[in-house]
């Protein structure tokens, strides 16, 4: 489910043009093998005309190569460090750890009954010159713009 969400986020987001490697869309995963396995099926699929490539990272320094970074719940301080390091950089940051929301992650996936909802930090994305599709914003359960 989360993997599908990640993929849909990637489809509905616009990166500044200067950034982005030719031909590849790099999705970085910081987390356990469980989520990596779940996301693995996305490997090779198309995102906005580029092929999706999956990379598992463990440190903030690796994160700069990413177009998109998913920080899994339970990484604690390491997660917030990674997010902090990417502040202002054109990397779409996503987490399912609600505690990381205030720590500079743009999209936060939260459980909403049987399905998943998500919250958007618009100010952070604007800093990084990342734009969300209005369709995505409409679906968000909360949009903060501070």
């Amino acid at each position: 489910m989360k993997a599908a969400y990640l993929y849909n986020f990637a489809q509905l987001t616009e990166w500044p043009q200067a950034v982005g490697r030719e031909g590849e869309f790099v999705l970085c995963i910081a987390g356990q093998s469980g989520i990596i396995n779940a996301v693995a099926e996305l490997q090779g699929r198309g995102v906005q005309g580029r092929r999706l490539r999956l990379i598992s990272i463990t440190s903030a320094t690796d994160a700069e190569r990413c177009d998109m970074l998913f920080v899994e719940e339970g990484l604690g301080k390491r997660g917030s460090r990674m997010a902090g390091a990417l502040r202002g950089k054109p990397v779409l940051t996503v987490t399912d750890d609600s505690r990381l929301g205030d720590d500079g992650v743009m999209l936060v996936i939260v459980p909403d009954g049987r399905r998943l909802a998500f919250e958007v930090n618009l100010a952070l994305a604007r800093q990084a010159k990342i734009k969300f599709s209005s369709k995505l914003l409409r679906l968000a359960s909360r949009v903060s713009d501070e």
């Binding site: 993929y7 849909n8 489809q11 509905l12 409409r138 679906l139």
Partner: protein
């Protein structure tokens, strides 16, 4: 054959007015039907295409808007987007299905709508039947299939527009007829009016045997005008022929006087008049003396000229009311009507004898003939035309016997004398 004939026979027997009306109506129908048919079918296809396009565009917009909600399985957002179809009155129902045919959201305008929305197959498609248009669309997000959309639209607006179009067509056809009707009437009258006049005249001619010329001639130069003039000239031909025939029937062609036939008719009228009004009339038989000799010695031409001269003189000495005729050969006759006694006729007879005893200049010859005259009066000597004729004849022969160039009035003793003398 009989069935084939039925319509044509009926048509042939119709008055021209009805034929023209029928032809007018047929022509208008024949001209209008293809026009109405073609424009109607064109309009139908155009409207149907527009309706299909409208339904497809609507489906495409919904598909694009609902893609994200479908991708995130957001039922609430998807339902909101589908509900926006409520603004489009022709949409009956719509549904978004996820993979595995799970319904994400559904829109139904009216709970009473029967017929479940069919499960859309994979792929974009548009179906339509008489009452419904169904558009199936695959929902993509970034090149991946996230679900399927089906929208069912009513064709009622299409039918309404076709109905309106038909009504407008019908009304304009009625209007056309309303305008064409007085025009057709005027046309009919301009053609059949003169025909009617002509027909009435022909009828008048046949029933009244009145061949007199028309009071006013048809001046137009079309076929009917020419027919009318041909009819008039035919009438005038009949009139001329009638004059000629009556001339032949009633007049002698040598002298131009009335002939024996006419004489008998007039005598009968004269006798009838004496009975009716109690008046008197007399008849004179005039026989030229020695006419045969002139004819034999100087020829028939001179004989005829002599007869004409005699006729001229008879006409000169008689009154206008006296009836002069040539009975044939050298016999002439006079009918004198409305007389008081027999003195007048005697004077007239004497005048005739003196006039004819003169030497007559005929074709450069000087011819002398005399005349013997017999006089008989009605009702004095006979009360019937035949008896009167016989009496005049007898009197005339008496005059001849008594030395010619004289006249005798009938006396029944003459008959006895004649019959007794050898």
């Amino acid at each position: 054959m009989k069935a084939d004939c039925r319509f044509m026979c009926w048509f042939t027997n119709q008055p021209i007015q009805n034929k023209l009306t029928l032809i007018n109506v047929l022509v208008v129908l024949v001209a209008l039907l293809p026009v109405v048919g073609i424009t109607l079918s064109y309009e139908y296809f155009a409207i149907r295409r527009a309706s299909l396009q409208e339904a497809e565009v609507q489906a495409n917009i919904i598909r694009d808007n609902i893609a994200a909600a479908t991708a995130f399985h957001d039922r609430k957002a998807a339902a909101e987007i589908l509900d926006s179809l409520g603004a489009s009155p022709s949409v009956l129902q719509a549904a978004v299905l996820l993979q595995h045919d799970e319904v994400l959201a559904r829109f139904v305008r009216d709970e009473g709508i029967t017929g479940e929305l069919e499960k859309p197959e994979n792929g974009d498609a548009t179906y339509y039947d008489a009452s419904r248009i169904r558009v199936n669309r695959v929902i993509h997000l970034g090149g991946n299939v996230v679900g399927r959309l089906a929208i069912e639209t009513s064709t009622q607006p299409l039918q309404e527009r076709i109905g309106l179009y038909l009504a407008v067509n019908f009304l304009s056809t009625l209007l056309g007829f309303a305008i064409a009707l007085p025009l057709a009437k005027w046309l009919k009258e301009s053609i059949t009016g003169p025909l009617q006049v002509l027909m009435e005249r022909a009828h008048h001619v046949t029933t009244h045997h009145d061949y007199s010329p028309p009071k006013e001639a048809n001046a137009s130069n079309d076929e009917i005008g020419r027919l009318s003039r041909a009819f008039d000239s035919m009438l005038s031909g009949i009139r001329q022929r009638d004059v000629k025939l009556s001339q032949m029937a009633y007049y002698d062609n040598v002298t131009g006087l009335a002939n024996r036939h006419y004489f008998v008719e007039r005598l009968q009228q004269a006798v009838a008049a004496t009975k009716r009004y109690g008046t008197r009339c007399c008849v004179m038989f005039i026989d030229l003396d020695d006419f045969k000799a002139v004819n034999d010695t100087l020829g028939h031409d001179v004989g005829d000229a002599l007869l004409r001269e005699v006729a001229r003189r008879l006409s000169l000495v008689s009154r206008d009311t006296d009836f002069v005729c040539r009975l044939g050969g050298d016999e002439f006759a006079l009918i004198v009507e409305d007389i008081k006694n027999l003195t007048g006729p005697a004077v007239l007879a004497q005048k005739v004898i003196s006039s004819l005893s003169e030497t007559l200049p005929v074709d450069g010859h000087q011819v002398t003939v005399g005349a013997s005259i017999g006089i008989a009066a009605c009702p004095d000597h006979a009360t019937e035309a035949a008896g009167l004729l016989r009496a005049a004849d007898i009197a005339m022969y008496m005059a001849k016997e008594q030395g010619k160039n004289c006249f005798r009035t009938y006396d029944h003793h003459l008959t006895e004398g004649r019959s007794t003398s050898p």
